[in-house]
Amino acid sequence: MTHDHDHDHDHHHDHDHSELTETQLRVRALETVLTEKGYVEPAALDAIVEAYETKIGPRNGARVVAKAWTDPAFKKALLEDATKAIGTLGHVSRVGDHLIAVENTPKQHNMIVCTLCSCYPWEMLGLPPIWYKAAPYRSRAVKDPRGVLADFGVTLPKDTDIRVWDSTAETRFLVLPMRPAGTEGWSEEQLAEIVTRDSMIGTGVPKAPEEKTK
Protein backbone atom coordinates (compact mmCIF):
# COMPACT_ATOMS: atom_id res chain seq x y z
CA MET A 1 0.00 0.00 0.00
CA THR A 2 1.16 3.45 -0.82
CA HIS A 3 -1.14 4.93 1.75
CA ASP A 4 -0.11 7.54 4.26
CA HIS A 5 -1.51 6.51 7.61
CA ASP A 6 -0.66 9.70 9.44
CA HIS A 7 -3.84 11.52 8.51
CA ASP A 8 -5.88 8.75 10.13
CA HIS A 9 -5.31 10.18 13.55
CA ASP A 10 -5.99 13.86 13.30
CA HIS A 11 -9.08 13.99 11.22
CA HIS A 12 -12.31 15.46 12.53
CA HIS A 13 -14.39 12.55 11.20
CA ASP A 14 -12.55 10.19 13.51
CA HIS A 15 -14.35 8.63 16.39
CA ASP A 16 -12.24 7.43 19.25
CA HIS A 17 -9.08 5.57 18.51
CA SER A 18 -10.24 2.19 19.84
CA GLU A 19 -13.28 2.11 17.54
CA LEU A 20 -11.08 2.90 14.58
CA THR A 21 -8.71 0.10 15.50
CA GLU A 22 -11.56 -2.34 15.91
CA THR A 23 -12.94 -1.51 12.48
CA GLN A 24 -9.50 -1.73 10.93
CA LEU A 25 -8.99 -5.17 12.45
CA ARG A 26 -12.38 -6.41 11.34
CA VAL A 27 -11.85 -5.20 7.78
CA ARG A 28 -8.47 -6.89 7.70
CA ALA A 29 -10.00 -10.09 9.04
CA LEU A 30 -12.66 -10.05 6.33
CA GLU A 31 -10.10 -9.45 3.58
CA THR A 32 -7.97 -12.32 4.88
CA VAL A 33 -10.96 -14.66 4.98
CA LEU A 34 -12.01 -13.70 1.43
CA THR A 35 -8.45 -14.13 0.18
CA GLU A 36 -8.03 -17.54 1.83
CA LYS A 37 -11.33 -18.68 0.34
CA GLY A 38 -10.09 -17.72 -3.10
CA TYR A 39 -12.75 -15.03 -3.49
CA VAL A 40 -10.42 -12.07 -4.04
CA GLU A 41 -6.80 -11.37 -4.93
CA PRO A 42 -5.51 -8.52 -2.74
CA ALA A 43 -3.57 -7.08 -5.70
CA ALA A 44 -6.84 -6.65 -7.60
CA LEU A 45 -8.27 -4.76 -4.63
CA ASP A 46 -5.12 -2.59 -4.57
CA ALA A 47 -5.72 -1.74 -8.23
CA ILE A 48 -9.29 -0.59 -7.55
CA VAL A 49 -8.21 1.58 -4.61
CA GLU A 50 -5.39 3.08 -6.62
CA ALA A 51 -7.66 3.91 -9.56
CA TYR A 52 -10.04 5.82 -7.28
CA GLU A 53 -7.18 7.63 -5.59
CA THR A 54 -5.29 8.62 -8.70
CA LYS A 55 -7.24 8.24 -11.94
CA ILE A 56 -10.87 9.06 -11.34
CA GLY A 57 -11.81 12.55 -10.30
CA PRO A 58 -13.70 15.69 -11.20
CA ARG A 59 -11.26 16.65 -13.94
CA ASN A 60 -13.05 14.19 -16.21
CA GLY A 61 -16.24 16.16 -15.78
CA ALA A 62 -14.44 19.50 -16.01
CA ARG A 63 -13.08 18.60 -19.45
CA VAL A 64 -16.56 17.72 -20.64
CA VAL A 65 -17.98 21.02 -19.36
CA ALA A 66 -15.15 23.04 -20.93
CA LYS A 67 -15.72 21.30 -24.25
CA ALA A 68 -19.45 22.05 -24.08
CA TRP A 69 -18.68 25.73 -23.40
CA THR A 70 -16.54 26.03 -26.50
CA ASP A 71 -18.19 23.66 -28.98
CA PRO A 72 -21.93 24.24 -29.59
CA ALA A 73 -22.34 21.00 -31.58
CA PHE A 74 -20.81 19.01 -28.69
CA LYS A 75 -23.01 20.83 -26.18
CA LYS A 76 -26.12 19.93 -28.18
CA ALA A 77 -25.02 16.29 -28.40
CA LEU A 78 -24.19 16.25 -24.66
CA LEU A 79 -27.64 17.49 -23.67
CA GLU A 80 -29.27 14.97 -26.02
CA ASP A 81 -27.28 11.91 -24.92
CA ALA A 82 -24.41 12.52 -22.54
CA THR A 83 -23.07 8.96 -22.53
CA LYS A 84 -22.87 8.93 -26.32
CA ALA A 85 -21.40 12.44 -26.61
CA ILE A 86 -18.68 11.76 -24.03
CA GLY A 87 -17.89 8.52 -25.83
CA THR A 88 -16.70 10.61 -28.78
CA LEU A 89 -14.05 12.36 -26.64
CA GLY A 90 -10.88 10.32 -26.76
CA HIS A 91 -9.28 12.01 -23.75
CA VAL A 92 -12.08 11.26 -21.28
CA SER A 93 -12.38 7.75 -19.92
CA ARG A 94 -15.43 5.77 -20.97
CA VAL A 95 -18.55 6.39 -18.94
CA GLY A 96 -21.27 3.95 -18.12
CA ASP A 97 -24.72 4.16 -19.61
CA HIS A 98 -27.57 6.47 -18.68
CA LEU A 99 -25.65 9.70 -18.01
CA ILE A 100 -27.84 12.80 -18.33
CA ALA A 101 -26.41 16.33 -18.57
CA VAL A 102 -28.65 19.16 -17.35
CA GLU A 103 -27.98 22.76 -18.24
CA ASN A 104 -28.00 25.69 -15.84
CA THR A 105 -29.42 28.88 -17.32
CA PRO A 106 -30.31 32.30 -15.88
CA LYS A 107 -33.86 30.90 -15.68
CA GLN A 108 -33.13 27.53 -14.00
CA HIS A 109 -30.51 26.20 -11.60
CA ASN A 110 -30.15 22.42 -11.33
CA MET A 111 -29.01 20.51 -8.27
CA ILE A 112 -28.38 16.76 -7.94
CA VAL A 113 -29.02 14.59 -4.90
CA CYS A 114 -29.56 10.96 -4.02
CA THR A 115 -31.95 10.95 -1.05
CA LEU A 116 -31.94 7.13 -0.75
CA CYS A 117 -28.21 6.40 -0.86
CA SER A 118 -25.27 7.97 -2.70
CA CYS A 119 -25.83 7.67 -6.48
CA TYR A 120 -23.33 9.94 -8.15
CA PRO A 121 -21.66 10.17 -11.59
CA TRP A 122 -18.33 8.91 -10.25
CA GLU A 123 -16.78 8.32 -13.65
CA MET A 124 -17.16 12.05 -14.24
CA LEU A 125 -16.56 13.38 -10.71
CA GLY A 126 -14.71 10.70 -8.74
CA LEU A 127 -16.02 9.31 -5.46
CA PRO A 128 -18.69 11.47 -3.86
CA PRO A 129 -17.60 13.73 -1.00
CA ILE A 130 -18.78 12.84 2.50
CA TRP A 131 -21.37 15.62 2.59
CA TYR A 132 -23.09 14.22 -0.53
CA LYS A 133 -23.57 10.87 1.23
CA ALA A 134 -24.55 12.30 4.60
CA ALA A 135 -27.93 13.00 6.18
CA PRO A 136 -27.90 16.84 6.16
CA TYR A 137 -27.63 17.06 2.36
CA ARG A 138 -29.78 14.05 1.53
CA SER A 139 -32.61 15.18 3.81
CA ARG A 140 -32.76 18.88 2.92
CA ALA A 141 -31.81 19.10 -0.75
CA VAL A 142 -35.29 18.17 -2.00
CA LYS A 143 -37.17 20.38 0.46
CA ASP A 144 -35.03 23.46 1.04
CA PRO A 145 -32.41 23.60 -1.70
CA ARG A 146 -31.85 27.34 -1.31
CA GLY A 147 -31.07 26.77 2.35
CA VAL A 148 -28.63 24.03 1.38
CA LEU A 149 -27.01 26.34 -1.17
CA ALA A 150 -26.57 28.92 1.61
CA ASP A 151 -24.48 26.32 3.49
CA PHE A 152 -22.23 26.34 0.43
CA GLY A 153 -22.17 30.14 0.33
CA VAL A 154 -24.18 30.22 -2.87
CA THR A 155 -27.10 32.61 -3.34
CA LEU A 156 -29.17 32.33 -6.50
CA PRO A 157 -30.92 35.32 -8.03
CA LYS A 158 -34.56 35.47 -6.87
CA ASP A 159 -35.89 35.00 -10.39
CA THR A 160 -33.85 31.84 -11.00
CA ASP A 161 -36.04 28.76 -10.58
CA ILE A 162 -34.57 25.77 -8.82
CA ARG A 163 -34.80 22.19 -9.98
CA VAL A 164 -33.63 19.28 -7.87
CA TRP A 165 -33.01 15.90 -9.51
CA ASP A 166 -33.25 12.98 -7.08
CA SER A 167 -31.12 10.11 -8.48
CA THR A 168 -33.46 7.31 -7.51
CA ALA A 169 -32.46 4.91 -10.35
CA GLU A 170 -29.38 4.07 -12.42
CA THR A 171 -29.56 7.28 -14.42
CA ARG A 172 -26.78 9.67 -13.39
CA PHE A 173 -26.73 13.44 -13.65
CA LEU A 174 -24.06 15.98 -14.51
CA VAL A 175 -24.83 19.68 -14.19
CA LEU A 176 -23.56 21.84 -17.03
CA PRO A 177 -22.90 25.12 -15.20
CA MET A 178 -23.06 28.54 -16.85
CA ARG A 179 -19.82 29.79 -18.34
CA PRO A 180 -18.61 32.79 -16.34
CA ALA A 181 -18.35 36.18 -18.04
CA GLY A 182 -14.77 37.32 -18.62
CA THR A 183 -13.63 33.99 -20.08
CA GLU A 184 -14.05 34.93 -23.73
CA GLY A 185 -11.31 33.53 -25.92
CA TRP A 186 -10.12 31.05 -23.26
CA SER A 187 -8.93 27.61 -24.36
CA GLU A 188 -10.67 24.43 -23.21
CA GLU A 189 -7.73 23.71 -20.91
CA GLN A 190 -8.02 27.15 -19.25
CA LEU A 191 -11.77 26.77 -18.88
CA ALA A 192 -11.49 23.29 -17.38
CA GLU A 193 -9.47 24.81 -14.51
CA ILE A 194 -12.38 26.93 -13.31
CA VAL A 195 -14.95 24.11 -13.41
CA THR A 196 -15.30 22.92 -9.82
CA ARG A 197 -16.72 19.60 -8.68
CA ASP A 198 -19.53 21.34 -6.81
CA SER A 199 -20.50 23.34 -9.90
CA MET A 200 -21.19 20.01 -11.64
CA ILE A 201 -23.36 18.80 -8.72
CA GLY A 202 -25.18 22.13 -8.61
CA THR A 203 -24.05 23.11 -5.12
CA GLY A 204 -21.53 25.59 -6.45
CA VAL A 205 -20.69 27.77 -9.41
CA PRO A 206 -17.49 27.83 -11.47
CA LYS A 207 -14.62 29.90 -10.12
CA ALA A 208 -14.54 33.52 -11.23
CA PRO A 209 -11.91 34.12 -13.93
CA GLU A 210 -9.61 35.97 -11.49
CA GLU A 211 -9.67 32.96 -9.13
CA LYS A 212 -8.19 30.62 -11.71
CA THR A 213 -4.77 30.46 -10.14
CA LYS A 214 -6.11 29.72 -6.65
Partner: protein, 219 residues
Protein backbone atom coordinates in the same frame (compact mmCIF):
# COMPACT_ATOMS: atom_id res chain seq x y z
CA UNK B 1 -38.75 -0.52 3.07
CA UNK B 2 -39.59 2.54 5.13
CA UNK B 3 -36.12 2.87 6.60
CA UNK B 4 -34.02 5.73 7.91
CA UNK B 5 -32.08 5.65 4.63
CA UNK B 6 -35.11 7.28 2.97
CA UNK B 7 -34.12 10.75 4.13
CA UNK B 8 -35.72 13.15 1.68
CA UNK B 9 -37.57 15.87 3.59
CA UNK B 10 -36.46 14.90 7.10
CA UNK B 11 -35.48 17.72 9.46
CA UNK B 12 -32.97 18.06 12.25
CA UNK B 13 -29.76 16.80 10.65
CA UNK B 14 -28.16 20.23 10.70
CA UNK B 15 -26.14 22.11 8.13
CA UNK B 16 -24.07 20.60 5.36
CA UNK B 17 -20.43 20.43 6.44
CA UNK B 18 -17.98 20.65 3.57
CA UNK B 19 -14.43 19.40 3.99
CA UNK B 20 -11.91 21.22 1.82
CA UNK B 21 -9.53 19.05 -0.24
CA UNK B 22 -11.21 15.89 0.92
CA UNK B 23 -9.16 12.73 0.19
CA UNK B 24 -10.71 9.77 -1.67
CA UNK B 25 -10.49 7.76 1.56
CA UNK B 26 -9.97 8.96 5.13
CA UNK B 27 -8.60 5.62 6.33
CA UNK B 28 -6.86 2.82 4.56
CA UNK B 29 -9.63 0.36 5.51
CA UNK B 30 -12.24 2.43 3.69
CA UNK B 31 -10.56 1.77 0.36
CA UNK B 32 -10.33 -1.96 1.15
CA UNK B 33 -14.04 -2.08 1.96
CA UNK B 34 -14.99 -0.23 -1.22
CA UNK B 35 -12.84 -2.57 -3.31
CA UNK B 36 -14.22 -5.71 -1.61
CA UNK B 37 -17.79 -4.53 -2.22
CA UNK B 38 -17.01 -3.91 -5.91
CA UNK B 39 -15.33 -7.30 -6.18
CA UNK B 40 -18.19 -9.22 -4.57
CA UNK B 41 -20.67 -7.30 -6.71
CA UNK B 42 -18.78 -8.20 -9.87
CA UNK B 43 -17.92 -11.86 -9.19
CA UNK B 44 -19.98 -12.91 -6.18
CA UNK B 45 -23.46 -12.32 -7.56
CA UNK B 46 -24.27 -9.65 -4.98
CA UNK B 47 -26.06 -7.19 -7.22
CA UNK B 48 -26.23 -3.45 -6.55
CA UNK B 49 -29.85 -3.55 -5.44
CA UNK B 50 -29.25 -6.39 -3.00
CA UNK B 51 -26.25 -4.46 -1.67
CA UNK B 52 -28.36 -1.35 -1.17
CA UNK B 53 -31.07 -3.35 0.60
CA UNK B 54 -28.50 -4.87 2.94
CA UNK B 55 -27.34 -1.36 3.96
CA UNK B 56 -30.92 -0.15 4.38
CA UNK B 57 -31.56 -3.18 6.60
CA UNK B 58 -28.92 -2.22 9.16
CA UNK B 59 -30.57 -1.29 12.48
CA UNK B 60 -31.67 2.36 12.22
CA UNK B 61 -29.45 3.53 15.08
CA UNK B 62 -26.44 1.80 13.49
CA UNK B 63 -27.24 3.27 10.08
CA UNK B 64 -27.40 6.81 11.47
CA UNK B 65 -24.33 6.52 13.69
CA UNK B 66 -21.99 4.77 11.26
CA UNK B 67 -19.74 6.44 8.72
CA UNK B 68 -20.43 5.69 5.07
CA UNK B 69 -17.86 2.95 4.58
CA UNK B 70 -18.60 1.49 8.00
CA UNK B 71 -22.15 0.92 6.73
CA UNK B 72 -20.74 -0.67 3.59
CA UNK B 73 -18.56 -2.94 5.69
CA UNK B 74 -21.29 -4.02 8.12
CA UNK B 75 -23.70 -4.72 5.26
CA UNK B 76 -21.11 -6.65 3.24
CA UNK B 77 -20.14 -8.80 6.22
CA UNK B 78 -23.78 -9.51 7.10
CA UNK B 79 -24.88 -10.35 3.57
CA UNK B 80 -21.95 -12.73 3.10
CA UNK B 81 -22.87 -14.45 6.35
CA UNK B 82 -26.53 -14.62 5.25
CA UNK B 83 -25.43 -16.27 1.99
CA UNK B 84 -23.24 -18.82 3.83
CA UNK B 85 -20.16 -17.53 2.03
CA UNK B 86 -18.44 -16.77 5.34
CA UNK B 87 -19.29 -17.37 9.00
CA UNK B 88 -18.89 -15.16 12.04
CA UNK B 89 -16.40 -17.52 13.67
CA UNK B 90 -14.16 -16.99 10.64
CA UNK B 91 -14.29 -13.21 11.05
CA UNK B 92 -13.48 -13.65 14.74
CA UNK B 93 -10.57 -15.97 13.92
CA UNK B 94 -9.38 -13.79 11.07
CA UNK B 95 -9.02 -16.89 8.90
CA UNK B 96 -11.07 -19.16 6.70
CA UNK B 97 -12.03 -22.20 8.80
CA UNK B 98 -13.85 -24.23 6.17
CA UNK B 99 -14.48 -24.52 2.48
CA UNK B 100 -17.08 -22.24 0.93
CA UNK B 101 -18.73 -22.51 -2.48
CA UNK B 102 -16.70 -20.77 -5.20
CA UNK B 103 -17.91 -17.42 -6.54
CA UNK B 104 -20.20 -17.41 -9.57
CA UNK B 105 -17.52 -15.80 -11.69
CA UNK B 106 -14.47 -17.16 -9.91
CA UNK B 107 -11.76 -15.37 -7.94
CA UNK B 108 -11.80 -11.61 -8.38
CA UNK B 109 -8.41 -11.02 -10.00
CA UNK B 110 -6.51 -8.34 -11.92
CA UNK B 111 -8.35 -9.35 -15.10
CA UNK B 112 -11.65 -8.31 -13.52
CA UNK B 113 -10.56 -4.84 -12.41
CA UNK B 114 -11.20 -3.09 -15.72
CA UNK B 115 -14.74 -4.40 -15.81
CA UNK B 116 -15.69 -2.84 -12.47
CA UNK B 117 -14.18 0.53 -13.33
CA UNK B 118 -16.94 1.24 -15.86
CA UNK B 119 -20.49 1.20 -14.62
CA UNK B 120 -22.54 -1.58 -16.14
CA UNK B 121 -25.59 -1.01 -18.28
CA UNK B 122 -28.98 -1.40 -16.65
CA UNK B 123 -30.93 -0.99 -19.89
CA UNK B 124 -32.96 -4.05 -20.95
CA UNK B 125 -35.29 -5.08 -23.76
CA UNK B 126 -38.82 -3.84 -23.01
CA UNK B 127 -41.47 -6.42 -22.14
CA UNK B 128 -44.22 -4.09 -23.40
CA UNK B 129 -44.68 -0.61 -24.86
CA UNK B 130 -44.25 2.31 -22.47
CA UNK B 131 -47.56 3.13 -20.78
CA UNK B 132 -46.86 6.86 -20.49
CA UNK B 133 -45.71 9.58 -22.85
CA UNK B 134 -43.83 12.80 -22.20
CA UNK B 135 -46.21 15.39 -20.79
CA UNK B 136 -48.60 12.85 -19.25
CA UNK B 137 -49.92 13.56 -15.77
CA UNK B 138 -49.23 10.67 -13.42
CA UNK B 139 -49.75 9.90 -9.76
CA UNK B 140 -47.20 7.97 -7.75
CA UNK B 141 -48.76 5.04 -5.97
CA UNK B 142 -49.00 4.84 -2.22
CA UNK B 143 -46.89 1.73 -1.73
CA UNK B 144 -45.10 0.67 1.44
CA UNK B 145 -43.27 -2.57 0.68
CA UNK B 146 -41.11 -3.99 3.46
CA UNK B 147 -38.63 -4.99 0.73
CA UNK B 148 -36.37 -2.75 -1.37
CA UNK B 149 -37.94 0.03 -3.42
CA UNK B 150 -36.66 3.17 -5.08
CA UNK B 151 -39.81 5.21 -4.67
CA UNK B 152 -38.96 7.58 -1.82
CA UNK B 153 -41.62 8.22 0.80
CA UNK B 154 -41.79 11.96 0.18
CA UNK B 155 -42.84 11.31 -3.42
CA UNK B 156 -45.61 8.77 -2.80
CA UNK B 157 -49.20 9.66 -3.61
CA UNK B 158 -48.32 12.84 -5.50
CA UNK B 159 -49.23 14.06 -8.96
CA UNK B 160 -46.44 14.89 -11.36
CA UNK B 161 -45.62 15.09 -15.03
CA UNK B 162 -43.60 12.71 -17.19
CA UNK B 163 -40.64 14.76 -18.39
CA UNK B 164 -38.32 12.14 -19.87
CA UNK B 165 -38.51 8.50 -20.84
CA UNK B 166 -35.18 6.95 -19.93
CA UNK B 167 -35.59 3.52 -21.48
CA UNK B 168 -36.39 0.19 -19.96
CA UNK B 169 -34.24 -0.81 -16.96
CA UNK B 170 -33.60 -3.56 -14.43
CA UNK B 171 -36.30 -3.16 -11.77
CA UNK B 172 -34.56 -2.76 -8.38
CA UNK B 173 -37.61 -3.92 -6.42
CA UNK B 174 -37.28 -7.36 -8.10
CA UNK B 175 -33.52 -7.51 -8.49
CA UNK B 176 -32.86 -6.81 -4.79
CA UNK B 177 -34.85 -9.94 -3.91
CA UNK B 178 -33.01 -12.12 -6.40
CA UNK B 179 -36.16 -12.28 -8.54
CA UNK B 180 -34.42 -11.27 -11.74
CA UNK B 181 -34.29 -8.13 -13.89
CA UNK B 182 -38.05 -7.84 -14.52
CA UNK B 183 -37.32 -4.84 -16.80
CA UNK B 184 -39.58 -1.81 -16.45
CA UNK B 185 -39.82 1.56 -18.16
CA UNK B 186 -38.06 4.33 -16.32
CA UNK B 187 -39.31 7.92 -16.38
CA UNK B 188 -38.21 11.26 -14.99
CA UNK B 189 -41.30 12.52 -13.17
CA UNK B 190 -41.31 16.14 -12.04
CA UNK B 191 -43.34 17.53 -9.14
CA UNK B 192 -43.88 21.07 -7.95
CA UNK B 193 -42.21 21.75 -4.61
CA UNK B 194 -45.49 23.07 -3.21
CA UNK B 195 -47.24 19.87 -4.13
CA UNK B 196 -44.69 17.88 -2.16
CA UNK B 197 -44.09 20.17 0.80
CA UNK B 198 -47.02 22.54 1.06
CA UNK B 199 -47.87 26.18 0.53
CA UNK B 200 -44.91 27.59 2.49
CA UNK B 201 -42.47 26.14 -0.01
CA UNK B 202 -40.41 28.14 -2.49
CA UNK B 203 -42.83 28.48 -5.44
CA UNK B 204 -39.99 28.13 -7.95
CA UNK B 205 -38.94 24.70 -6.66
CA UNK B 206 -39.41 21.63 -8.83
CA UNK B 207 -38.22 18.19 -7.77
CA UNK B 208 -37.93 15.14 -9.97
CA UNK B 209 -37.48 11.48 -9.22
CA UNK B 210 -36.56 8.63 -11.52
CA UNK B 211 -39.69 6.48 -11.37
CA UNK B 212 -40.24 2.96 -12.65
CA UNK B 213 -43.53 2.33 -14.38
CA UNK B 214 -44.97 0.08 -11.61
CA UNK B 215 -44.72 3.09 -9.25
CA UNK B 216 -47.07 5.15 -11.42
CA UNK B 217 -50.72 5.39 -12.37
CA UNK B 218 -52.50 7.78 -14.70
CA UNK B 219 -53.71 10.93 -12.93
Amino acid sequence: MNGVHDMGGMDGFGRVEVEQNEPAFHHEWEGRVMAMVRAMGANGGMNIDAQRFSRESLPPAVYLASSYYKKWFLALEQSMIDRDMIASDEIAAGHSLRQSPPLKRGTFSMDDVKRVMVRGSFGREPQAAAAFAIGDQVRTKNINPVTHTRLPRYARGHTGVIERINGCHVFPDSNAQGKGDNPQWLYTVVFSGRDLWGADTDPSLKVSIEAFEPYLERA
